[in-house]
Symmetry: D4
Subunit: 251 residues, 8 copies
């Protein structure tokens, strides 16, 4: 709330147009439900165009299901729970029978938002190898549930760069690009050099030995010689999809 909005609000209150409860809520601003183990953030859909997303790791099945139900009941938007196991899903299903589960992407979701998707502006999700597909799917499904068209192009890593160059048309047409790559993560730099649009790099934990669980790809992407490559946490497909969606919706 900026100065002018606050002044307006105070004047409305002083003139009796709004009551104590209303102004207090507005000043204290954003709303949430306190269900003990969680404060479910219902203002996030307004604040950020999309409801809070549940990060399942470290939560019990019961906690996940209750937060999911709470979000489901307070909004008409799509609902997402990331890093979810099959057991998490079964618990959610008991409370929200319309929930679906994508095993590759590890996402539980409800899809009910019918806002038409702009088919001319798509997000392209590239992977260096076949092993990077799960992270790519997490990114892609996240973006789709946030009302974006998504195209995939898998296994175009730099060990056979002609495979990437052959799909240069996709790079040229995309509005935003997500690159998921493990090992040395070089694909992000190559794509960053070819594209004149935002490139979101997601290092994956694919690799062994001195890949140190994705550290090697992470450092490579952070040090990309191609300007304008943004980097997410290792295996953070969700964050990449979320950011790509925000950029893709810019007008």
């Amino acid at each position: 709330m900026n100065n002018i909005e606050l002044l307006d609000l105070l004047h409305a209150y002083k003139q009796g147009n709004i009551n104590d409860a209303t102004i207090m809520k507005k000043i204290q601003n954003d709303s949430f439900d306190d269900i003990g183990f969680a404060k479910v953030d219902h203002s996030r859909a307004n604040r950020q165009d999309f409801p809070e997303v549940i990060y399942c790791a470290g939560k019990t099945n019961q906690q996940i299901a209750e937060i999911f139900l709470n979000l489901f009941n307070h909004s008409q938007k799509n609902i997402i729970a990331s890093r979810a196991t099959k057991e998490n899903y079964e618990a959610v299903l008991k409370l929200v029978p319309t929930a679906l589960y994508d095993e590759a992407a590890r996402i539980i979701y409800v899809q009910r938002d019918n806002t038409p998707v702009d088919d001319k502006r798509f997000i392209l999700v590239l992977t260096a190898g076949t092993s990077d597909i799960p992270v790519a799917k997490e990114a892609g499904l996240t973006a789709q549930l946030m009302n974006n068209k998504v195209e995939y192009c898998f296994d175009v890593g730099v060990a056979g760069i002609h495979r990437l160059l052959a799909r240069k048309d996709l790079i040229d047409k995309a509005n935003v690009i997500i690159v998921a790559a493990g090992m040395e993560g070089a694909l992000a730099s190559v794509v960053g050099g070819l594209a004149n649009k935002p490139v979101i790099a997601v290092p994956t934990s694919v690799g062994y030995g001195a890949s140190f669980g994705g550290l090697s790809a992470l450092l490579a992407m952070l040090n990309s010689c191609a300007a304008g490559v943004a980097v997410m946490n290792i295996d953070n497909g969700f964050g990449a999809g979320r950011l790509a969606s925000m950029i893709n919706h810019m007008r």
Copy 2:
């Protein structure tokens, strides 16, 4: 024992008021029981207001149970065994039938100290997310067993900072604050900036990828721009509860 106490002791001994065995024990100072695989420290209750706490990881069930029994028999205080599994508890239960177990906090304990708790001075335990609750519970139960009032406030991480600001009253009223947070651990800095009381930050291993098992939160908390934030080891809820108790009992 300082100079004056030592001189008094020596004079008492010279005058025959205490015998060889007594003065030797006093000079050698603190007492302990040697039970082979452990030297159970019975002077700790005097030295530090609370008996030795058993760290269960790496000990056998039998060792834990025997040390627990030994502590139980030498003191009238509460007894705590941290990082305990259910199997550890079952072994203890055979020797100490009044022992209880808190699975979330992973603590085996005996509660028998009836010292009245000062209700006006409470320790506030905050978590950034739902996944940080187990560490918070380890801290909170530790502090309760050391005769402190504890209040919890879960899931007030900085991604929805209005949830924290809405509970500013708790921060204002608390005497000491414990913040358990994983991922980027930013909550400690925000609370440290809002509070004029000691803030004990406990990084948790919640997160993935470049969180490197809690390293990310640990470094963030150590580098807090809010002055006066103290940091514990990753997931060390026990240490946070112990320190908070010491501070809360200061008069």
Copy 3:
């Protein structure tokens, strides 16, 4: 060049509409000048809307000046050389007398592009502290030279979060946000939670001890609990400005 474009090109060639030299250049695609120690990339302005930017560190004064001149002569766009010292600038000045130097941002530049800037869409550059200003300036000047309106708001770190909340209006109005922060880097997460637009986080090397040259802020930003925060290399103001410009120009 995609399939259709290539086929069109070949047919045009077969029909004699274009000659050997032209088709070879087109197939070999992008053009550059080879000046021995560097291959100056003249196709980048077409490919990526902006000419190659010179990274000065590790290059000799002579090399920098010659590359700068080469870029200056092949384009009518603005020219940028980053990580430049005063000595680098003096060498450039001899060959390109209209070059300017911003000492705080460490940028040598030529500003001659008169494309009108869209004043309604601005990039907001925030810093946690005063010490982060140089990195913020590198980001801001880069974005300005790429035809963006830039607003700055310095010293709004989380140790005094009311300073940030008081400028919530700027966050609400901005089109893209860059956050430069060292130490624990918490500002990125807090802003990421407040804003419904892309947030580009730049960890800075401000700090000491366990900040390990910016590692602490970097890890914190990568692990941000606020979805959609993109991270750049430590102190990489240039990359942040470049990415912000690309996003800000999306229509």
Copy 4:
């Protein structure tokens, strides 16, 4: 501001007891001065009992001096600038002629607060070696400027543990203890085991080779087997002094 305070404020406003400007400031809560490169936080003295402390590293002489002057003019409390060089001091001195400088502690300060100090409750600052004294002095002077009695005891590291045991009386009498130690940082654990009061451990960068700039002492202190030892950033004497002061003032 909690619910009741906010309601009171609103009622006062509605009844015309306070005007627009006042309530807006109160709601927007804390006050600060925006001097361009910094937002000087004047509410911190109320919020945290002590004014904002200037962290000098990375700021220009001019910036430091202007922030110092701004703080000096808005408060009657003592003023502290940490990590200050002699050049920083000379710049401050021109604007604030009463400023003093402690070279060992690297602190510029103004001492004018005449609040009587409680001589019965002192903070004890221990060092493992002579080389750790500068960090100890930073901690001690910080605490003194915040109205605490401070005692020092240098060079009592564990290589000659009798030196520490001989001063056990100081440990017994102190209210809070700060331990500054480099190399293996073992002193913190030994003191933590002897004392029944809060121990604040400050790893120092004293050492070479595998001390890795203080990392070795930092890790050792975080892993202390003595419960209740809190850890600060490497060489962060200021933070230790600030926290010790908060604890020492608890009643």
Copy 5:
């Protein structure tokens, strides 16, 4: 073989006192058995007073058993296989029925060397906690099998330093001291400061969080302020026992 020995050998050969095979073996010096997957080193018993010790990790049961048998048949000394599992032992037992197994120390061994042990010179093995006992046992049993008297003293960590000081007599009487400690590893420095004899420090992986699998204790021990503390690899009880034995046998 030094110059003189070689010359003697050559002269003996020239004079026909030794034949081709003998001199070739002597020049090629040390002997071993090549059993395909291993070259069992039979000269080690002469070269280093004790036969090759089998490191079991990463070897198959069959490989371990065959190497064990090979060593058993070529020597009358004790035989040791370290880091052995129960399954490894069962495989060895089929080929060498007199083999024994110590589960805590993870050692398979044959004890048949009746050389009398010097009871006046003993190796003292200290542990900081009960959880460090397995590493201590690996060290102790290794030293015993190499004909040394060994004394143990467990759980004398620095959190209760009186427990260590009470056994100062053991430290004074020992000939060599091994200290096994995890977490912050401070015990090594304290013992190193008290003792005027070689102290061999073995960091253990006991701990959690920022102990990083023993790294914390390792760095602490390497940076010991007590001169003359030697450090082994994390959990390397065997190496400590071997080195202690070599030192203890010096005359």
Copy 6:
């Protein structure tokens, strides 16, 4: 394709000697099959003398089997899938009944290339210990499937350097040498100092504690004081075999 080749191609096309499809394929250059989750690279056999090798980790059984079959059908060369489990093999076997599996080397392969092997030029694969054999086998089998003679010599680590010196003849006769060693990885340096031919060092993850999963051997090999030692990723036997084959085939 260089300038002259491209010009020739274009002229042939202009003169109608080659058709649209052919020239497009040639310009787009290398060929591959897109089977959805993978772009199988069929030009690699031409480009690099050997077909694409399947990296199994992170791929599903179904994906591996289909890629294997695709490669099998498009080439008459040997086929390799590395890092394969028994389950991977069973899936491949259903589609390619002539596939074989080497459990130690973790390689699925088809051997059908009858090109005669040059027996005078062999690759020598050395290991420091018995535990390094699996990595050595991965290297050796890879090289054999690429038509090289391979000799093995296991367990010649530097703790008994006479075992290595006794096989100096093998080092002298080999054409290329691969050294697989864990722990301190010293064997690479010793061999590098003895040999006047390329030495390819493969650090293995054999070891414990401060070997940090092979990091210790990796760093040692990178810092080898013997000039001309090349290093592969930890446990990367495949890469070593591939490089050794390329070098061994040089004429």
Copy 7:
């Protein structure tokens, strides 16, 4: 010396064909000069086709000059001293007036070997950027002094991959390729995927922030998805040149 050679030697000695001194030297094998602070290795030229190379860092000017002179006097080959400063060179020049110095490559050398160079087999040295040239020069000059033809191609990093593809002809014609790249080091993987010949990757310390002194490029190169890429230590141009020379001389 293998079995047969040794037997021949012994028989020759027994028959009086060689004397004591000769056989002792041969058995003790390789020769060197002991000049106190160094044992100059004169057998290396025979053993490895090139004399010992002096690593100047950490040696005094006097030591370098004396070792240089010693090598100069014992051989007719070229002499190399790497990592040399101008001061090192001046000291050498006093003892060896024909010594030359290449400042970019930091090499002092004497070139007097007139063996004709095979012009058809050249080593290609690529760099990602202009800043990587010094390392490339160290590699190239080393290889030239070891009698190889060397071609350079600078500034073909992946941010403008058309620059590399335009010089595909050089890659196709080269016999061995050295790639020097800092930052994310992606060039090594791209070249490794294009070339069917050995690729030696040299990470450089070019970069800042999370490049951590070359660690980022090093890890990327070790994890290259292109099989058969060998990696050298950071900035180790000398080692790359030495290895490339050995490979290039294979017949």
Copy 8:
């Protein structure tokens, strides 16, 4: 003081044979001088056969000189100050005119102990290269000042292992061996495999790139496959000399 000694002391006191001051000092045990910034430990000469050694880094010239003088006045032993600069020495020289300085070893010392040295038992100090000599000298001079015979053998690294084997006689005759090596530190393992006596390994910071300031040699030495190699901190020649002296004096 053990039980019996304490009882004797108490009886003597009770019988009036010793007075209050004496028994208090004895119970409080070891003696030291408190000179403000240091507690000079005068009992160390009794407790550990050698006076406290001054670690100069981080101390002022004045502090070093005063501690040196204090030690000089309280003992007739040799005095050592390590890590000393020339400036440190000049300050010491003003107070202790007989002090000497060894620049290579960075040691200030007074040599006045005439205890005859046992010439038959010597400590051998080996270095891998010429650049490791300063660390070796620190170790050697330390041992000499503690009354040991020392032999040096420089530049016997594993790149030319015949240089080491040629001095096998020295290894055979030495009583204790110190190995100083940087880079990959392989020499320690090779010597550890050849010798049947304690080997003390000192990693040095000689190297560059991935040697990471000596980390590479440190890890290699900790992971030595040769049993019984003890490791010191990076560049800790002093500690190696101290430990070697203790072992060499064992009878």
